[in-house]
Symmetry: C2
Subunit: 122 residues, 2 copies
Amino acid sequence: VIAEAGLEFVVDATGCDPARLRDETLLRALLGRAIDELELRPVAAPLVHVFPGEGGVTAMVLLAESHLALHTFPELGLATFNLYCCRPRPAWAWESRLAEALGAEVVRVRILERGAARSETP
Amino acid sequence: VIAEAGLEFVVDATGCDPARLRDETLLRALLGRAIDELELRPVAAPLVHVFPGEGGVTAMVLLAESHLALHTFPELGLATFNLYCCRPRPAWAWESRLAEALGAEVVRVRILERGAARSETP
């Protein structure tokens, strides 16, 4: 079922390597890989904020297809992603990509329809 | 219940006035109002993209508390918001604020816990 305004992937990856969750270069490359493999189209350069000290990284990319956001919480071994696509896209291999890039042990993917509420039946 | 990495508010407003969904100034003011009333702390200027012609507006604000994102779809009378707060915040009056600012007729608010999956019971 594709909602009128697309789907949002809400992804929470736990058990990640804290050092990698502070590595801005690695995280930019990870987002770039998702964008390339999903054939997404950024409309602006990524906006990235590195929190000081032991803090994590926040990054957002505006897309023609809506947005991609990442927040990392090194103290929790947690990385959270939102990918909101207002056009249908193939699924991404979140589990294997995040295991490889971040050392994630558990990857939880939730998929939300956006737009008006409607029946789940066709 | 507050998840270890906070809550995300996923808000879809339908029946909005299409002209207001293309009004960048109005939309910036609406985001500003949410930020002020929820006492959120931006860490960078808002990133705003206005799609050409009859298209809508996309805006994202990086927050110390995570992020606020808005996409408008004038052709659908739809505005979609994500507010991800990694610290507890009071609820915002999405329904009345979006009715006032955008002419929204129906406002659907979903609340997701972020972070590791866990039991809903205390």
